[in-house]
Amino acid sequence: MSEFPADSHTIDRYEATGGYVQARRALGMTRDHLVEEIKASGLLGRGGAAFPAGMKWSFLAPARPSFLVVNADESEPGTFKDRQLLERDPHQMLEGVIITAIANEVHHAFIYIRGEYPKPARRVQAAVDEARARGYLGTGIFGSDYDLELTVHLGAGAYICGEETALINSLEGLRGEPRLKPPYFPAAKGLYMQPTIVNNVETVSNLPHILDMGAEEFSRIGHPDDTGTFLISVSGHVNRPGNYELPHGITWRHLIYEIAGGIPGDRELKAIIPGGASAPWFVPEIHLDDQITKDVCAEAGSMLGSGAVIVMDETTCMVRAAERIVRFFAHESCGQCTPCREGTTWMEMILRRIEEGQGRAIDLDLLLDVSDNISVGLNWPPKMTTICPLGPSAVSPILALRDYFRDEVQAHVELGGCPLTSGGRPPDPRSLQTVSAETSRRSTSMVAPDRDRE
């Protein structure tokens, strides 16, 4: 018996546990009040940029109509938290959508779900239909005179459409290419050049709880400058991968060894990717006891990003892991910017050569210099030569090779192959690992720890 019911996605269950009460209340509140409330809660965006949600709302330009787009394009490698919220708790998000719409005087909202998520999309569409049937969406919601249309839009396979301006272009029926900044926020000029709020699924899913418990109490959960709980998706070499809802502030050691059940076969931890494929890597020697908060991560030169933690053990070839991540960004580049389009592919080619034993002694320096022409100075956050951060994100793994794994790279060159195995490819770690049903961990739905709806 799991902690939550199998029908958590239905409107009956949601309403039985207090659902849509806050949306109704919101109808009676002014925009200013709602914006202030969210500001006070200290809620940060959960899409990766960790921008204060309330402040973003306050940037909304006066022109109307304004639009709302919920970013459900979740494509950052290692991330799968939004999928759970969409599949298991669609009404929680919808309530958040209604609140956000009211706060930003929006009468047409969109939910942009990545194309590879048809099941979550079906669930959300079903939830939308349920809500519409009860008069919570459409004309005159909850019997008020407030109209709210909602369109569920399916992507078609492009990670870059998670970038909010690319997402907007995609929604307009254009190529999913990020727009130039400035303007820095779609809140100024977004969908159809109108003021537009873009928020992540998890961000809006927090709103009913904030209104419910009040900004005050919400802001006391977690870490002062990173309030509330957040979802971490743990994947890679751990015994209990999955989504965990945590208050900010625990350590990596606690997350990996306690919560995620440690590393299969008690093998050695080698590297941690703290915030999705875009984030620079951590290594146990230096970071294992760091707190998991936005700021500590930033000081250590990385980020919590989308909350995807990828754990790599001693059997992992760092060159191969880096190649795989760089390949991702090269494949997902929208192709606008010369450095991203040409540079990431070049990096991928070099890494593959090294991994396959064709590396040259100068290749690591070449790799670093090519990277430097995409992300000047090789730091995080990056000094970009590009329009959006995708290109510079491809550099993150290279920083790890430079700082922690130079020798492993050189070993590839000298050995003419991968040092981790004779054959050049490491063994499939899975064969060393036993995964049975019960080792698959528990994951929770979006509720503040002290008030489970069950």
Partner: protein, 808 residues
Amino acid sequence: MGQTVTITIDGVEHQVAAGSLLIRAAQDTGTYIPRFCWHERMKPVGMCRMCLVEVQGPRGPMLITACTNEVAEGMVVYTGNDTVRKAQEGVLEFLLANHPLDCPVCDKGGECPLQDQAFSHGPGESRFVEIKRNYEKPIAISSLVLLDRERCILCARCTRFSEEISGDPLIEFKSRANVTEVNTFPDHPFASYFSGNTIQICPVGALTSVQYRFRARPWDLQMVESSGLHDTAHPRVSVHVSQNQVLRLVGVDNDATNHGWLSDKERFGFQYLGSEHRLTSPLIRRHGELVEVGWAEALDHVAERITLVGDSDGGEAFAVIGGAHGSNEDAYALSKFARVVLGTNNVDARLDDSLASHFLAATVDRALIGDIDTADTILVWGPDLKEEHPTLYLRVRRAAQELGVRLVVVHPRVTGLDDRTAIKANYRPGAGFVLLDEIAEGKHAALSEALSAPRVVALVGQASLADGPHLAEAVAAYVRSKAGSARILPLARRANLFGALDMGLAPDLLPGRVGADQAGRAALAGAWGEIPATRGKDTKAMLEGLGSSEIRFLLLVGADPVRDVPDPRPGPAALEAAEFVVSIDLFLNDSNRGADVIFPASGFAEKEGTATNIEGRVQKLNSVVPGPGQTRPDWAILADIADRAGRSIGLFSAETIAKEISEVAPAYDRVTWDFLEWEARDGAVVPLGGAPVLSHIPVALKGDIAPSAELTLHVGRTLYDDGVMMRHTPNLHRLAPGPVAHLNPEDAKRAGALHGHKVRVVTKHGDGEFTAVLDEGTPPGVVYVPFNQPGADPLGTDAVVRVTAVGK
């Protein structure tokens, strides 16, 4: 400049225009920031990243693209420090990584920004040891343009041009990331009237010209500026020549007319100059055959005839048709020749297809092309600008799209501007007055409201041959009555027609926008001597006069009144009946084939002179190549005939003619070559200052009332047709639509016509077989037949038409 801000570029403070782009501001103050994707006339996209510079940001120094960021007060910019140099060299290395090293065989070699940058900033040899991207070498994306995707740097200039500027997005990005390419859609070629511009703005050799391919290297080219004559806006061009051959035309960016853009007709339409069919020596008819003779013989022969006819029948026995294709100097010589040597006012440069001469020449509130940008409302009630006035089309399109000008288009069917109109009204050909009355009666509130704006620019002309010559004048009059301030641009399309009219090539006009009335004649008598008083005939009347043998002598100057007139009937008979026909032309055509004497004329780029565009802008035409064989300018031929006829017109060089024009033609007061070359680089709009010129009094008479026929014929022009020059320009001639009849699917069904099958189209004046095109853009009740198409039978101007299916 208005508002300014202070910025520091590389340690030096500058005052620059507020709101301007950094890349522009830097350039204006002497700092060139390298760029590939940025183009002055298009919206920035910041894609190539070549223009990266460093500025102080909130979180320390940051790199930004100079082409996408506006200057801000106190901005501190570094365009060449180590960070910037490395970033730019990095971008360049990325661009070159996959770029082929085929500069020696690339048409762009020697004039390639990428090549130049590579020399100045580029790394020595490439660190890119991987395999380059490869694509099939040049693919023809149209019969005029080749695309080499290996050379493309994806700057999006071509795709932006075709979407933003010309409005036919047929070339687009494809795929993404590292395999992004530019391409067309399968079986949808880059069929744009403006495709050549993409070749011109491509910063590498990815887009090249079929016509120019491998013809020359930039360093052997001699380049001379002139203005194009295919388009009455006279876009500024640079003529590129090698070994006395015109090899290509390139648009010159100027605010006044074309912003650097050219239609493909202007850009590629010079092939006829080198045609082997050019006339190269004088011809005389002997025993029914045209034979080559020396100049003296031909000139004397004509001179004798003139004396003979003149002595017996006087000036009324002469007719002069044409003169719109030459320079102002040619036109002036012809005008003077007709009045002084032939003693007649029977002279007309309009081939019966355009508006009243006074309306064209003497509309005092005539709009400048530039007024299009600042209007509140633009009315286009006339031809489809995309087909007949490409330069104006681009200006109007931009105004409606970028500058928020409200565009109103009134036309019998769909036009190239429809996707940008605020209001579009269709009407049955010939029923223009009916619609106008309805509008005046307030039946089209939105439309009259739009025309009541403070600043209205009205481009008016003949939308369809069925529209009478006065509809445009009535529309202009209505606009004047509604608008706060109205500016009128009467539309007519023959090369230098406006120059010709300004030189008096109309029965009722004399040089300098002066009427051929008592006062006008008196004013000119000092310079020209006595000028005939009898009222002159227009083209139509002259052809009739020839038919009735009232006129015995016909002089054709670059005119083909048999084919190139709306009403095909009188022409052949008239030419048949003519006792003596002299032609000055570049080619034999259906009208001069039977002539008695033919003189070989020099054409565009073969002679010096001036020309006057649709807004009255006088610009210099320059001679770049010698004409073939014994060709000579019209004025020289006419001057010689005059001398031999014993009535010299005293004209010895184009420049002295220009001087004489500036002295005797009021509107052209002070417009000398020196003035144009030194003081008015973009030309001078006449009249300069308040020179007294006649003003046109609009006639308010009614035109023909709506035909009640089930189907009405709409004959309109297309950019490419069967005109003489097009016929000798195969590249474009083959792109003419040919004998087609556009039908609304409904009407087609009723007539039993299938798309692509043959139909017979019958009017009072003519009939012929055409290929049916089923077309939603042609409203029910209208049949659209493009004018003067290769292989098409002329149908005349009668609006009533019958269509029957003939099958495959």
